[in-house]
Protein backbone atom coordinates (compact mmCIF):
# COMPACT_ATOMS: atom_id res chain seq x y z
CA UNK A 1 0.00 0.00 0.00
CA UNK A 2 2.79 2.37 0.95
CA UNK A 3 4.48 1.72 -2.37
CA UNK A 4 1.26 2.49 -4.19
CA UNK A 5 0.91 5.75 -2.28
CA UNK A 6 4.47 6.70 -3.12
CA UNK A 7 3.96 5.81 -6.74
CA UNK A 8 0.85 7.93 -6.84
CA UNK A 9 2.72 10.86 -5.25
CA UNK A 10 5.54 10.42 -7.74
CA UNK A 11 3.18 10.26 -10.70
CA UNK A 12 1.22 13.32 -9.67
CA UNK A 13 4.46 15.19 -9.04
CA UNK A 14 5.85 14.08 -12.38
CA UNK A 15 2.69 15.11 -14.13
CA UNK A 16 2.83 18.54 -12.50
CA UNK A 17 6.43 18.98 -13.55
CA UNK A 18 5.77 17.90 -17.14
CA UNK A 19 2.74 20.11 -17.40
CA UNK A 20 4.85 22.95 -16.04
CA UNK A 21 7.52 22.24 -18.62
CA UNK A 22 4.87 22.46 -21.35
CA UNK A 23 3.72 25.82 -20.02
CA UNK A 24 7.34 26.97 -19.86
CA UNK A 25 7.56 26.11 -23.55
CA UNK A 26 4.76 28.62 -24.15
CA UNK A 27 7.39 31.27 -23.48
CA UNK A 28 8.99 30.17 -26.74
CA UNK A 29 5.56 30.33 -28.34
CA UNK A 30 5.01 33.91 -27.26
CA UNK A 31 8.52 34.87 -28.34
CA UNK A 32 8.09 33.42 -31.82
CA UNK A 33 4.58 34.74 -32.29
CA UNK A 34 5.58 38.26 -31.35
CA UNK A 35 8.81 38.10 -33.33
CA UNK A 36 6.80 37.17 -36.38
CA UNK A 37 4.27 39.96 -36.03
CA UNK A 38 6.63 42.89 -35.49
CA UNK A 39 8.89 44.49 -38.06
CA UNK A 40 12.40 43.16 -38.65
CA UNK A 41 14.01 46.22 -37.08
CA UNK A 42 12.26 45.52 -33.77
CA UNK A 43 12.63 41.76 -33.61
CA UNK A 44 15.76 41.37 -31.48
CA UNK A 45 14.31 43.69 -28.86
CA UNK A 46 11.06 41.79 -28.50
CA UNK A 47 12.96 38.53 -28.23
CA UNK A 48 15.13 40.06 -25.52
CA UNK A 49 11.99 41.25 -23.75
CA UNK A 50 10.53 37.76 -23.82
CA UNK A 51 13.64 36.01 -22.56
CA UNK A 52 14.18 38.60 -19.85
CA UNK A 53 10.60 38.74 -18.62
CA UNK A 54 10.47 34.99 -18.27
CA UNK A 55 13.62 34.96 -16.19
CA UNK A 56 12.56 37.98 -14.15
CA UNK A 57 9.12 36.52 -13.49
CA UNK A 58 10.67 33.32 -12.15
CA UNK A 59 12.93 35.22 -9.80
CA UNK A 60 10.35 37.69 -8.48
CA UNK A 61 7.76 34.96 -8.03
CA UNK A 62 10.27 32.83 -6.14
CA UNK A 63 11.32 35.82 -4.08
CA UNK A 64 7.90 37.02 -2.95
CA UNK A 65 5.11 36.42 -5.47
CA UNK A 66 4.43 32.75 -4.77
CA UNK A 67 4.01 33.25 -1.05
CA UNK A 68 1.64 36.17 -1.60
CA UNK A 69 -0.43 34.09 -3.98
CA UNK A 70 -0.50 30.97 -1.81
CA UNK A 71 -0.31 31.99 1.85
CA UNK A 72 -1.90 28.80 3.01
CA UNK A 73 -5.14 27.64 4.56
CA UNK A 74 -5.13 30.20 7.40
CA UNK A 75 -6.03 32.93 4.89
CA UNK A 76 -9.06 31.41 3.24
CA UNK A 77 -11.55 34.03 2.08
CA UNK A 78 -8.96 36.71 2.65
CA UNK A 79 -8.53 40.01 0.85
CA UNK A 80 -5.33 41.53 2.23
CA UNK A 81 -2.17 39.80 1.03
CA UNK A 82 0.49 38.55 3.41
CA UNK A 83 4.13 39.13 2.57
CA UNK A 84 6.85 36.56 3.13
CA UNK A 85 10.00 35.82 1.20
CA UNK A 86 11.52 32.81 -0.52
CA UNK A 87 10.09 29.35 -0.87
CA UNK A 88 9.12 27.22 2.08
CA UNK A 89 10.23 23.71 2.80
CA UNK A 90 9.43 20.62 0.78
CA UNK A 91 6.92 18.09 2.11
CA UNK A 92 8.41 15.90 4.81
CA UNK A 93 8.09 12.15 4.72
CA UNK A 94 6.20 11.91 8.00
CA UNK A 95 3.32 14.16 6.89
CA UNK A 96 3.15 12.25 3.65
CA UNK A 97 3.16 8.85 5.32
CA UNK A 98 0.49 9.89 7.80
CA UNK A 99 -2.03 9.93 4.98
CA UNK A 100 -5.47 11.37 5.32
CA UNK A 101 -6.95 14.48 3.74
CA UNK A 102 -4.13 16.78 4.78
CA UNK A 103 -1.39 14.59 3.39
CA UNK A 104 0.34 16.08 0.36
CA UNK A 105 -0.04 14.12 -2.85
CA UNK A 106 2.59 15.96 -4.85
CA UNK A 107 5.86 17.75 -4.19
CA UNK A 108 5.64 21.29 -2.85
CA UNK A 109 8.42 22.40 -5.16
CA UNK A 110 6.54 21.01 -8.12
CA UNK A 111 3.63 23.22 -7.14
CA UNK A 112 5.89 26.25 -7.27
CA UNK A 113 7.28 25.15 -10.63
CA UNK A 114 3.81 24.76 -12.07
CA UNK A 115 2.69 28.15 -10.78
CA UNK A 116 5.79 30.13 -11.73
CA UNK A 117 5.40 29.33 -15.42
CA UNK A 118 1.85 30.69 -15.27
CA UNK A 119 2.92 34.08 -13.98
CA UNK A 120 5.54 34.23 -16.72
CA UNK A 121 2.83 33.47 -19.28
CA UNK A 122 0.63 36.20 -17.86
CA UNK A 123 3.38 38.78 -18.02
CA UNK A 124 4.25 37.72 -21.52
CA UNK A 125 0.85 38.89 -22.73
CA UNK A 126 1.91 42.47 -22.07
CA UNK A 127 5.05 42.34 -24.18
CA UNK A 128 3.21 41.97 -27.48
CA UNK A 129 0.80 44.82 -26.90
CA UNK A 130 3.53 47.38 -26.16
CA UNK A 131 5.86 46.16 -28.91
CA UNK A 132 7.94 48.36 -31.20
CA UNK A 133 7.87 51.55 -29.15
CA UNK A 134 8.39 50.87 -25.43
CA UNK A 135 11.67 51.20 -23.61
CA UNK A 136 12.96 47.75 -22.74
CA UNK A 137 13.99 48.54 -19.17
CA UNK A 138 10.76 50.37 -18.41
CA UNK A 139 8.96 47.22 -19.45
CA UNK A 140 11.17 45.01 -17.29
CA UNK A 141 10.64 47.30 -14.32
CA UNK A 142 6.90 46.91 -14.72
CA UNK A 143 7.38 43.16 -15.11
CA UNK A 144 9.15 43.02 -11.76
CA UNK A 145 6.23 44.74 -10.02
CA UNK A 146 3.57 42.76 -11.90
CA UNK A 147 5.06 39.37 -11.13
CA UNK A 148 5.84 40.13 -7.49
CA UNK A 149 2.68 42.01 -6.47
CA UNK A 150 -0.07 42.77 -8.99
CA UNK A 151 -0.56 39.26 -10.38
CA UNK A 152 -0.03 37.36 -7.11
CA UNK A 153 -2.56 39.43 -5.19
CA UNK A 154 -5.43 38.80 -7.60
CA UNK A 155 -4.19 35.23 -7.94
CA UNK A 156 -4.48 34.87 -4.18
CA UNK A 157 -8.07 36.09 -4.32
CA UNK A 158 -9.02 33.16 -6.51
CA UNK A 159 -6.50 30.30 -6.60
CA UNK A 160 -4.90 31.10 -3.26
CA UNK A 161 -8.26 30.58 -1.60
CA UNK A 162 -9.07 34.25 -1.09
CA UNK A 163 -12.39 36.09 -1.15
CA UNK A 164 -13.17 35.59 -4.85
CA UNK A 165 -12.84 31.89 -4.43
CA UNK A 166 -15.03 31.98 -1.35
CA UNK A 167 -17.64 33.91 -3.33
CA UNK A 168 -17.91 31.04 -5.81
CA UNK A 169 -16.02 32.56 -8.74
CA UNK A 170 -14.82 29.81 -11.10
CA UNK A 171 -11.63 29.98 -13.18
CA UNK A 172 -10.19 26.56 -13.82
CA UNK A 173 -6.92 27.39 -15.56
CA UNK A 174 -6.86 31.16 -15.72
CA UNK A 175 -8.99 32.89 -18.37
CA UNK A 176 -9.30 35.57 -15.71
CA UNK A 177 -6.39 35.12 -13.31
CA UNK A 178 -3.82 34.87 -16.08
CA UNK A 179 -5.18 35.98 -19.43
CA UNK A 180 -7.56 38.80 -18.57
CA UNK A 181 -5.13 39.95 -15.88
CA UNK A 182 -2.27 40.17 -18.36
CA UNK A 183 -4.45 41.88 -20.91
CA UNK A 184 -5.64 44.45 -18.34
CA UNK A 185 -2.03 45.34 -17.54
CA UNK A 186 -1.37 45.52 -21.27
CA UNK A 187 -4.32 47.83 -21.85
CA UNK A 188 -3.15 50.19 -19.13
CA UNK A 189 0.31 50.23 -20.67
CA UNK A 190 -0.89 50.80 -24.22
CA UNK A 191 -3.14 53.68 -23.18
CA UNK A 192 -0.24 55.49 -21.51
CA UNK A 193 2.20 54.54 -24.28
CA UNK A 194 0.30 55.61 -27.34
CA UNK A 195 0.20 54.11 -30.79
CA UNK A 196 3.14 53.45 -33.05
CA UNK A 197 4.09 56.36 -35.28
CA UNK A 198 2.30 56.12 -38.56
CA UNK A 199 -0.24 53.57 -37.39
CA UNK A 200 -3.33 55.79 -37.51
CA UNK A 201 -3.97 58.24 -40.31
CA UNK A 202 -5.49 61.69 -40.22
CA UNK A 203 -9.12 60.79 -40.79
CA UNK A 204 -9.29 57.73 -38.60
CA UNK A 205 -7.74 55.44 -41.18
CA UNK A 206 -5.76 52.45 -39.98
CA UNK A 207 -2.40 51.95 -41.68
CA UNK A 208 -1.18 48.37 -41.68
CA UNK A 209 2.26 47.63 -40.29
CA UNK A 210 2.81 44.05 -41.45
CA UNK A 211 4.83 41.62 -39.40
CA UNK A 212 8.21 40.52 -40.68
CA UNK A 213 7.98 36.77 -40.38
CA UNK A 214 4.79 34.78 -40.87
CA UNK A 215 6.52 31.39 -40.41
CA UNK A 216 7.69 32.42 -36.93
CA UNK A 217 4.24 33.72 -36.02
CA UNK A 218 2.69 30.42 -37.09
CA UNK A 219 5.32 28.37 -35.29
CA UNK A 220 4.71 30.43 -32.18
CA UNK A 221 1.00 29.76 -32.35
CA UNK A 222 1.48 26.00 -32.64
CA UNK A 223 3.93 26.06 -29.75
CA UNK A 224 1.39 27.93 -27.63
CA UNK A 225 -1.32 25.47 -28.68
CA UNK A 226 0.78 22.55 -27.55
CA UNK A 227 1.88 24.29 -24.37
CA UNK A 228 -1.77 24.89 -23.53
CA UNK A 229 -2.22 21.16 -22.96
CA UNK A 230 0.01 21.68 -19.95
CA UNK A 231 -1.66 24.96 -19.07
CA UNK A 232 -5.16 23.50 -18.91
CA UNK A 233 -4.30 19.84 -18.38
CA UNK A 234 -1.99 20.54 -15.46
CA UNK A 235 -4.62 22.66 -13.78
CA UNK A 236 -6.51 19.50 -12.89
CA UNK A 237 -3.65 19.23 -10.37
CA UNK A 238 -3.63 15.44 -10.37
CA UNK A 239 -3.67 12.47 -12.75
CA UNK A 240 -2.87 9.37 -10.73
CA UNK A 241 -6.33 7.91 -10.30
CA UNK A 242 -9.30 6.92 -12.46
CA UNK A 243 -11.27 10.15 -12.15
CA UNK A 244 -8.38 12.54 -12.52
CA UNK A 245 -6.90 10.65 -15.45
CA UNK A 246 -10.20 10.82 -17.29
CA UNK A 247 -10.53 14.47 -16.37
CA UNK A 248 -7.11 15.27 -17.78
CA UNK A 249 -7.99 13.48 -21.00
CA UNK A 250 -11.22 15.44 -21.30
CA UNK A 251 -9.31 18.67 -20.71
CA UNK A 252 -6.75 17.88 -23.40
CA UNK A 253 -9.52 17.10 -25.87
CA UNK A 254 -11.57 20.20 -25.05
CA UNK A 255 -8.51 22.44 -25.20
CA UNK A 256 -7.64 21.10 -28.62
CA UNK A 257 -11.22 21.35 -29.90
CA UNK A 258 -11.61 24.92 -28.72
CA UNK A 259 -8.47 25.96 -30.58
CA UNK A 260 -9.68 24.19 -33.69
CA UNK A 261 -13.04 25.90 -33.44
CA UNK A 262 -11.32 29.23 -33.02
CA UNK A 263 -9.21 28.80 -36.15
CA UNK A 264 -12.06 27.77 -38.40
CA UNK A 265 -14.41 30.43 -37.09
CA UNK A 266 -11.83 33.21 -37.42
CA UNK A 267 -10.86 32.11 -40.91
CA UNK A 268 -14.48 31.95 -42.06
CA UNK A 269 -15.16 35.33 -40.49
CA UNK A 270 -12.34 37.14 -42.27
CA UNK A 271 -13.08 35.35 -45.52
CA UNK A 272 -16.67 36.56 -45.30
CA UNK A 273 -15.98 40.16 -44.39
CA UNK A 274 -12.77 40.79 -46.35
CA UNK A 275 -12.66 38.06 -48.96
CA UNK A 276 -9.19 36.96 -47.87
CA UNK A 277 -7.85 34.30 -45.52
CA UNK A 278 -5.73 36.47 -43.25
CA UNK A 279 -3.21 34.13 -41.63
CA UNK A 280 -2.60 36.40 -38.67
CA UNK A 281 -6.31 36.33 -37.84
CA UNK A 282 -6.37 32.55 -38.07
CA UNK A 283 -3.50 32.43 -35.59
CA UNK A 284 -5.27 34.85 -33.26
CA UNK A 285 -8.39 32.73 -33.69
CA UNK A 286 -6.60 29.62 -32.43
CA UNK A 287 -5.35 31.48 -29.39
CA UNK A 288 -8.75 33.03 -28.78
CA UNK A 289 -10.31 29.59 -28.78
CA UNK A 290 -7.74 28.45 -26.27
CA UNK A 291 -8.31 31.43 -23.98
CA UNK A 292 -12.08 31.00 -24.19
CA UNK A 293 -11.96 27.41 -22.95
CA UNK A 294 -9.37 28.03 -20.25
CA UNK A 295 -11.89 29.09 -17.61
CA UNK A 296 -13.63 25.72 -17.82
CA UNK A 297 -11.93 23.11 -19.99
CA UNK A 298 -13.23 20.09 -18.07
CA UNK A 299 -17.01 20.33 -17.86
CA UNK A 300 -18.08 21.04 -21.46
CA UNK A 301 -18.64 18.32 -24.00
CA UNK A 302 -16.14 18.34 -26.88
CA UNK A 303 -18.83 19.83 -29.11
CA UNK A 304 -19.56 22.63 -26.67
CA UNK A 305 -15.84 23.26 -26.30
CA UNK A 306 -15.54 23.60 -30.07
CA UNK A 307 -18.42 26.06 -30.11
CA UNK A 308 -16.96 28.09 -27.26
CA UNK A 309 -13.69 28.27 -29.15
CA UNK A 310 -15.51 29.27 -32.31
CA UNK A 311 -17.30 32.14 -30.57
CA UNK A 312 -13.91 33.26 -29.29
CA UNK A 313 -12.55 33.10 -32.82
CA UNK A 314 -15.32 35.30 -34.19
CA UNK A 315 -15.16 37.72 -31.28
CA UNK A 316 -11.43 38.23 -31.55
CA UNK A 317 -11.63 39.38 -35.17
CA UNK A 318 -14.14 42.10 -34.35
CA UNK A 319 -12.33 43.04 -31.17
CA UNK A 320 -9.06 43.59 -33.03
CA UNK A 321 -10.63 45.87 -35.61
CA UNK A 322 -12.63 47.70 -32.95
CA UNK A 323 -9.56 48.43 -30.86
CA UNK A 324 -7.87 49.82 -33.97
CA UNK A 325 -10.86 52.07 -34.56
CA UNK A 326 -10.46 53.31 -30.98
CA UNK A 327 -6.78 53.95 -31.77
CA UNK A 328 -5.62 51.40 -29.22
CA UNK A 329 -2.57 50.04 -31.02
CA UNK A 330 -1.92 46.39 -30.23
CA UNK A 331 0.55 44.91 -32.74
CA UNK A 332 -0.22 41.29 -31.92
CA UNK A 333 -3.84 41.46 -30.78
CA UNK A 334 -2.97 40.49 -27.20
CA UNK A 335 -5.61 42.64 -25.53
CA UNK A 336 -8.29 41.16 -27.76
CA UNK A 337 -7.14 37.55 -27.54
CA UNK A 338 -6.47 37.47 -23.82
CA UNK A 339 -8.65 40.26 -22.45
CA UNK A 340 -11.84 40.43 -24.44
CA UNK A 341 -11.95 36.69 -25.03
CA UNK A 342 -10.81 36.11 -21.45
CA UNK A 343 -14.02 37.78 -20.32
CA UNK A 344 -15.96 35.57 -22.72
CA UNK A 345 -14.28 32.50 -21.32
CA UNK A 346 -15.25 33.42 -17.79
CA UNK A 347 -18.83 34.30 -18.66
CA UNK A 348 -19.59 31.02 -20.47
CA UNK A 349 -18.54 28.86 -17.52
CA UNK A 350 -22.13 28.66 -16.18
CA UNK A 351 -23.13 26.99 -19.47
CA UNK A 352 -21.40 23.80 -18.42
CA UNK A 353 -20.54 24.24 -14.75
CA UNK A 354 -23.47 24.68 -12.36
CA UNK A 355 -21.17 25.79 -9.55
CA UNK A 356 -20.82 29.08 -11.37
CA UNK A 357 -23.40 31.78 -11.87
CA UNK A 358 -23.26 34.72 -14.24
CA UNK A 359 -23.27 36.99 -11.20
CA UNK A 360 -20.23 35.43 -9.55
CA UNK A 361 -18.40 35.27 -12.86
CA UNK A 362 -19.11 38.93 -13.49
CA UNK A 363 -17.85 39.68 -9.98
CA UNK A 364 -14.60 37.95 -10.82
CA UNK A 365 -14.28 39.78 -14.11
CA UNK A 366 -14.87 43.11 -12.42
CA UNK A 367 -12.56 42.47 -9.50
CA UNK A 368 -9.62 41.17 -11.51
CA UNK A 369 -9.95 43.86 -14.17
CA UNK A 370 -10.38 46.72 -11.71
CA UNK A 371 -7.46 45.63 -9.53
CA UNK A 372 -5.07 44.91 -12.38
CA UNK A 373 -5.99 47.83 -14.60
CA UNK A 374 -5.87 50.43 -11.87
CA UNK A 375 -2.67 49.23 -10.20
CA UNK A 376 -1.04 48.83 -13.60
CA UNK A 377 -2.07 52.32 -14.61
CA UNK A 378 -0.46 53.62 -11.42
CA UNK A 379 2.76 51.66 -11.91
CA UNK A 380 3.05 52.49 -15.62
CA UNK A 381 2.28 56.09 -14.72
CA UNK A 382 5.04 56.28 -12.16
CA UNK A 383 7.55 54.66 -14.49
CA UNK A 384 6.47 57.05 -17.24
CA UNK A 385 6.97 60.09 -15.00
CA UNK A 386 10.30 59.03 -13.59
CA UNK A 387 12.00 57.27 -16.52
CA UNK A 388 9.70 57.58 -19.50
CA UNK A 389 8.24 54.51 -21.15
CA UNK A 390 8.48 55.38 -24.83
CA UNK A 391 11.56 55.49 -27.04
CA UNK A 392 12.26 58.68 -28.98
CA UNK A 393 10.77 59.20 -32.41
CA UNK A 394 14.15 58.69 -34.02
CA UNK A 395 14.77 55.47 -32.10
CA UNK A 396 11.35 54.25 -33.15
CA UNK A 397 12.17 55.02 -36.77
CA UNK A 398 15.58 53.36 -36.62
CA UNK A 399 14.16 50.37 -34.83
CA UNK A 400 14.45 49.46 -31.16
CA UNK A 401 16.86 46.64 -32.02
CA UNK A 402 19.52 49.29 -32.52
CA UNK A 403 18.63 51.63 -29.69
CA UNK A 404 17.83 49.08 -26.97
CA UNK A 405 19.85 46.01 -27.93
CA UNK A 406 22.63 47.21 -30.19
CA UNK A 407 22.14 44.23 -32.46
CA UNK A 408 19.91 43.45 -35.41
CA UNK A 409 17.74 40.41 -35.76
CA UNK A 410 18.31 40.11 -39.51
CA UNK A 411 21.62 41.94 -40.08
CA UNK A 412 21.98 40.87 -43.71
CA UNK A 413 18.63 42.21 -44.83
CA UNK A 414 19.22 45.84 -45.40
CA UNK A 415 15.90 47.46 -46.09
CA UNK A 416 14.35 49.67 -43.41
CA UNK A 417 10.68 50.37 -43.16
Amino acid sequence: MEQLAELSYALDTFYFLMAGALVMWMAAGFAMLEAGLVRAKNTAEILTKNVALYALACIMFMFVGYNIMYPGGDYEGGFMPVISFLLGAENDAATFAAGGDDAPYYSARSDFFFQVVFVAAGMSIVSGAVAERMKLWAFLLFAAVFTSLIYPIQGFWKWGGGWLNAAGFQDFAGSGVVHMCGASAALAGVILLGARKGKYGANGSVIPIPGANMPLATLGTFILWMGWFGFNGGSQLAVANFDDANAVAAIFVNTNMAAAGGVVAALLTVRLIWGKADLTMALNGALAGLVAITAEPLAPSPLLATCIGAVGGILVVFSITSLDRMKIDDPVGAISVHGVVGVLGLMVVPLSNSDATFATQALGVGAIFAWTFITSLVVWGIIKMVFGIRVTEEEEYEGVDISECGIEAYPEFASRN
Binding site: S205, V206, P208, W274, D278, T280, I320, D324
Partner: protein
Protein backbone atom coordinates in the same frame (compact mmCIF):
# COMPACT_ATOMS: atom_id res chain seq x y z
CA UNK B 1 30.41 51.79 -76.34
CA UNK B 2 26.97 51.85 -74.83
CA UNK B 3 25.59 51.17 -71.37
CA UNK B 4 22.26 49.38 -71.68
CA UNK B 5 20.04 49.51 -68.61
CA UNK B 6 16.95 47.32 -68.67
CA UNK B 7 14.22 47.23 -66.02
CA UNK B 8 12.36 43.96 -66.33
CA UNK B 9 9.97 41.74 -64.42
CA UNK B 10 12.04 39.66 -61.95
CA UNK B 11 10.89 36.28 -63.21
CA UNK B 12 12.08 37.14 -66.74
CA UNK B 13 15.71 37.35 -65.65
CA UNK B 14 16.73 33.84 -66.71
CA UNK B 15 15.18 34.17 -70.15
CA UNK B 16 16.88 37.51 -70.74
CA UNK B 17 20.22 36.15 -69.56
CA UNK B 18 19.99 33.24 -71.98
CA UNK B 19 18.90 35.44 -74.86
CA UNK B 20 21.84 37.77 -74.26
CA UNK B 21 24.37 35.00 -73.96
CA UNK B 22 23.13 33.56 -77.28
CA UNK B 23 24.14 36.78 -79.05
CA UNK B 24 27.49 36.89 -77.34
CA UNK B 25 27.03 39.22 -74.38
CA UNK B 26 29.57 38.07 -71.86
CA UNK B 27 28.49 39.58 -68.58
CA UNK B 28 25.98 41.72 -66.75
CA UNK B 29 25.19 43.35 -63.43
CA UNK B 30 21.86 42.63 -61.84
CA UNK B 31 20.15 44.49 -59.01
CA UNK B 32 16.78 44.27 -57.27
CA UNK B 33 14.88 47.51 -57.51
CA UNK B 34 11.32 48.75 -57.09
CA UNK B 35 9.43 51.09 -59.29
CA UNK B 36 6.32 51.88 -61.23
CA UNK B 37 5.52 53.34 -64.60
CA UNK B 38 2.03 53.57 -65.89
CA UNK B 39 1.37 50.18 -64.26
CA UNK B 40 -0.37 51.04 -61.05
CA UNK B 41 0.16 49.28 -57.71
CA UNK B 42 -2.18 46.87 -56.05
CA UNK B 43 -3.99 46.86 -52.73
CA UNK B 44 -3.12 44.49 -49.93
CA UNK B 45 -5.02 43.74 -46.74
CA UNK B 46 -3.52 43.22 -43.27
CA UNK B 47 -5.79 42.58 -40.32
CA UNK B 48 -8.63 44.45 -41.93
CA UNK B 49 -6.71 47.54 -42.97
CA UNK B 50 -6.17 48.16 -46.66
CA UNK B 51 -3.05 49.66 -48.08
CA UNK B 52 -1.85 50.43 -51.61
CA UNK B 53 1.50 49.07 -52.66
CA UNK B 54 2.78 51.61 -55.22
CA UNK B 55 6.21 50.22 -55.87
CA UNK B 56 6.44 46.91 -57.69
CA UNK B 57 9.59 44.79 -57.37
CA UNK B 58 11.64 44.80 -60.59
CA UNK B 59 15.03 43.60 -61.69
CA UNK B 60 17.55 45.96 -63.24
CA UNK B 61 20.15 44.64 -65.67
CA UNK B 62 23.14 46.73 -66.74
CA UNK B 63 25.41 45.65 -69.55
CA UNK B 64 28.28 47.42 -71.30
CA UNK B 65 28.34 46.64 -75.04
CA UNK B 66 30.06 47.57 -78.23
CA UNK B 67 28.09 49.97 -80.45
CA UNK B 68 27.71 47.30 -83.12
CA UNK B 69 25.79 44.99 -80.78
CA UNK B 70 23.20 47.55 -79.73
CA UNK B 71 20.33 46.59 -82.00
CA UNK B 72 20.79 42.88 -81.38
CA UNK B 73 20.87 43.43 -77.62
CA UNK B 74 17.71 45.51 -77.61
CA UNK B 75 15.95 42.91 -79.73
CA UNK B 76 17.14 40.10 -77.45
CA UNK B 77 15.96 41.81 -74.28
CA UNK B 78 12.63 42.88 -75.74
CA UNK B 79 11.97 39.40 -77.08
CA UNK B 80 12.83 37.63 -73.84
CA UNK B 81 11.39 40.07 -71.30
CA UNK B 82 8.27 41.06 -73.14
CA UNK B 83 4.93 39.44 -72.43
CA UNK B 84 2.58 41.93 -73.97
CA UNK B 85 1.20 42.82 -70.54
CA UNK B 86 1.51 46.03 -68.55
CA UNK B 87 4.69 46.20 -66.47
CA UNK B 88 7.09 44.56 -68.95
CA UNK B 89 9.58 47.31 -68.26
CA UNK B 90 11.88 49.70 -70.10
CA UNK B 91 15.32 49.84 -71.69
CA UNK B 92 17.55 52.91 -71.38
CA UNK B 93 20.65 53.38 -73.52
CA UNK B 94 23.40 55.74 -72.47
CA UNK B 95 26.78 56.52 -73.90
CA UNK B 96 29.55 54.59 -72.16
CA UNK B 97 32.60 56.80 -72.12
CA UNK B 98 35.18 54.34 -70.88
CA UNK B 99 35.46 50.76 -69.70
CA UNK B 100 38.40 49.09 -67.88
CA UNK B 101 39.00 45.44 -66.98
CA UNK B 102 40.43 45.64 -63.49
CA UNK B 103 42.49 42.44 -63.65
CA UNK B 104 44.40 43.24 -66.84
CA UNK B 105 44.01 47.01 -67.19
CA UNK B 106 42.56 46.59 -70.70
CA UNK B 107 40.71 49.62 -72.00
CA UNK B 108 37.84 50.05 -74.41
CA UNK B 109 35.67 47.42 -76.11
CA UNK B 110 38.10 44.59 -75.25
CA UNK B 111 37.37 45.31 -71.60
CA UNK B 112 33.67 44.53 -72.03
Amino acid sequence: MKLVTAIIKPFKLEEVREALSTIGVQGMTVSEVKGFGRQKGHTELYRGAEYVVDFIPKTKIEIGIDDAQLDAVIEAITGAAGSGKIGDGKIFVTELERAVRIRTNENGPTAL
